[in-house]
Symmetry: C2
Amino acid sequence: MNKNAFDIQKSSVTFPFGFKASGIVAGIKKSGKDLALVTSDVPAQCAAVFTTSTLPAACVLFSKKIIKNKKAQALIINSGNANACTGDQGYKDTQEMATVTAGCLGMSEDMVLVSSTGVIGVPLPMETVRSGIVKACSAIKDQGGIEAAEAIMTTDTYAKYFAVEFELDGKKARIGSMAKGSGMINPNMATMICILTTDVDIDADMLQSALNKVIPRTLNALTIDGDMSTNDAVFLLANGQCGNKQITSKDENFNKFTDALESICLEITKALAADGEGATKFVTVTINQANTQQEALKAAKEIANSMLVKTAIFGHDPNWGRVVAALGKSQAKIDPNAFKITFAGIPVADNGQAIKYDKEKMFAALKNKEIEINVSLGSGSAEATVYTCDLTYDYVKINAEYTT
Amino acid sequence: MNKNAFDIQKSSVTFPFGFKASGIVAGIKKSGKDLALVTSDVPAQCAAVFTTSTLPAACVLFSKKIIKNKKAQALIINSGNANACTGDQGYKDTQEMATVTAGCLGMSEDMVLVSSTGVIGVPLPMETVRSGIVKACSAIKDQGGIEAAEAIMTTDTYAKYFAVEFELDGKKARIGSMAKGSGMINPNMATMICILTTDVDIDADMLQSALNKVIPRTLNALTIDGDMSTNDAVFLLANGQCGNKQITSKDENFNKFTDALESICLEITKALAADGEGATKFVTVTINQANTQQEALKAAKEIANSMLVKTAIFGHDPNWGRVVAALGKSQAKIDPNAFKITFAGIPVADNGQAIKYDKEKMFAALKNKEIEINVSLGSGSAEATVYTCDLTYDYVKINAEYTT
C-alpha cells in the first residue's frame, strides 16, 4: 500500500458529498463550543468500534444498539460531560438526546447515534442539552465540519480534522473526519472520539470490515498514558452519494477504500499522539524481528507506556536501559545477545550491548519533535508499530489541576 | 494474624545474631557509598525471589544458580551500575565479584551471592569494583547494617532498614532487613533489592515457602510506575544462630516466623512506596467484593498504575471518574449499579453513581500524606490491596534528568 497516493487535506466531516454539520455553544462546558451534530442528507450505512471498558457510558450502550441496524442518519455529540456512571437516568438522558435530535431533524429516532465525552459521574444538564440540540439542528450547514470538530474538544489544544479524495469507478470519492482526545488515550482507544464520513457507496458489513482492518494499525496503536475511558468510539457513516457501484465484497474498490481510510486514520492517530496532554514530542515505537505479531505489539506498547521511557524522551536522553526494562517486562521473546535498539535513527545497542555513538549528534536528534525508537528483538520476523508522546511537567500539571 | 504483635525496630541486616556487614565508597558512583557486603558467621540457608524480566541482569542469572544450592554465607551488592545488557563479559564480571569476595573472606566461591543496581548497559568498572570489594571485606562489623543499607541506594532519598524481634521456643528470634528502590518499581518488584537476614533455624525449603507466601502480599503488591527492572531480587538468609529447634515443616513456629517476615516486608513495601520518585503521598488501593482474587488484584493494579489517578491524588482531587476508567480497563467483573468508591475514607460513589460529599472535608483529607482508595465491585467476595504513590512534577524531573 502506498499511503502517499492519498493527499491528506485539512477538511472535516462535511468534505464528502451529502453531509452537513454544526458545532455550537450549548452551555454544558464552562465556555466554548460543546455540542456537535453531523447529519447525512440520506440514511447512511454505518459501522463503529467502541471502548472495551467493562463500565461503558450510556451513550456507548445506546449507540451499540443503533449500529446493529446498520443504518444511521445523524450523530449528536456533547463534550464537557461523559454521561458515564450516571445510572438508569443516564441512559434515559442519552435516549432523550436522540429523541430530541430526531424530532428537530424530522427523522426516525433509531437513525440517531449519540456520543458524549467529559467528566464522569455527573448527570447531564438536560435543560441545557435540550435547548442546545435545538440550536445545533437549526445551525447545520454544508461547511459546518470544522465547527463540529471544535465542539467535541475537551483538553485538546486544537481541533483535529482531516480528509482525503480519491477515484472510485471514475468518480470523486471522499472521506472526511474529525476526532478528539488527548489524555487517557490508550490501546483500545480510551477517551477518544472519532467521526468518519464518506460518500462512497458501500454496504454496512463491508464498511465494518474496512474499519476493523484499519483500527488496530492506527487508532488502537495509539497510547498516551495507558488509561482507557468509558466513552471511546469511532463512527463511520457512508451515504453512497459518490455514485460508485456499491461495494459489497472485498474487491479492488474495497481495498482502495480501506487504504484511503487507513491513511486518514493514521493521520488522526499521529495528530492525537502529538497533542497528548502536555506532550512536546511525537514518538513512534517500532518492534522488528519479534517471535509473533502479538509479542511485537506487546513489546511496543510496554515501551510506549513506560513512564520512564517517556520521561527520558522528554529529557532528550537515549536511555535504552529503560527500553530494555520495558522489553523484559513485556515477556516477548528476545535474544539477549542479538537485540538492537536505535533512538532517532542512531544505534545505541547492538548484539544486546551498548555501542558508542556521537553524543552531540544524538542530543541534536532528540531535540526534534518527532522521535523514533526502533528495536529488533532477534527472535523472528513479526513487527508492530505504536504511537505515543513524551511525559512532561505539563502532563502532571494538566491532570493534577483538571477538576472533578 | 495480628501484625501489631510485631514491633518494628529501626535496625538493619546486622540485627539478627551472627551477621556482619559493611557499606563503603568504592568509586562506582560519582559520589557516596556504592558497595555493600553482608556476611553470616556460619553458612546460612537461603531463599530468593527474582525479577520475571525476560532480560535479567548477569547477577540475577548468577545468583539463581547459587540459590539452587540452598546455602550462602555472603552477599556482595554494588549500586551505580546494574551490569545488565553487558553480554558474556558482564557475567564474567559478576563471577569475579563472587571470586574476589570469597577470596577475601576465605570461603568457597559458591557461598557468595551477587546483586547489582544502577544504570543498564554499561560494563562494570572492574578495577574499581575489585579494590572496593577488598575494602568492603576488611570493613565488615557487627553494626555495619546501616552503612550497608546506605550503600545500595540509587535514587532513594533515604536508606531503608527495619527489624523485628519475637520469641521462638523461648529464644529471642530476629529478622533484619535493608532495601532500595524508588522508581521503576512495579508488580513483581522491578528495580528493587531487598536483603532479609534472620537468625532463626529453618531449612531452606521452608525458608523459600515463607518468602513465597509473603512476597505477593507485600513487595509484589507495590507499584510505583508500572515499570520492571532487569535486576530485582529479594534475598533471605537464615543462619540458625537463634537456637530454636530447626523449622522443617509448616508448624506453629513456621507460621510465627512467616507472620514476622510479612510484617517486616509490609513495612519495607510502605517505605518504598512512600519514597517513590518524587512522591508526596503514600497510596493504598483496596478492592473488595471482586469476583476472583485475580480480578481484585488486576483492578487494584490498574488503579494504582493509572497516571491519571496518580496525578489526581497529587492534585488533591477525588477524581473517581479516573478510578472508574481504570476499573473498566481492568476487565474485572463489576456491577455497574452496585459499585462503591471511597477516597480517604469518604464515599464518593455508591450504587454505581456519584454521591454528595463535603468538599472541604474531602480536600482536607486529601492533604494527608497517606491516602486510601477503596472500591467495592459488587461482584463477589475476593479482595486485594496494592500500594503506590502519586505522580508529581518531581517524578518527571528526576526521570527526565537522570542520565544514561
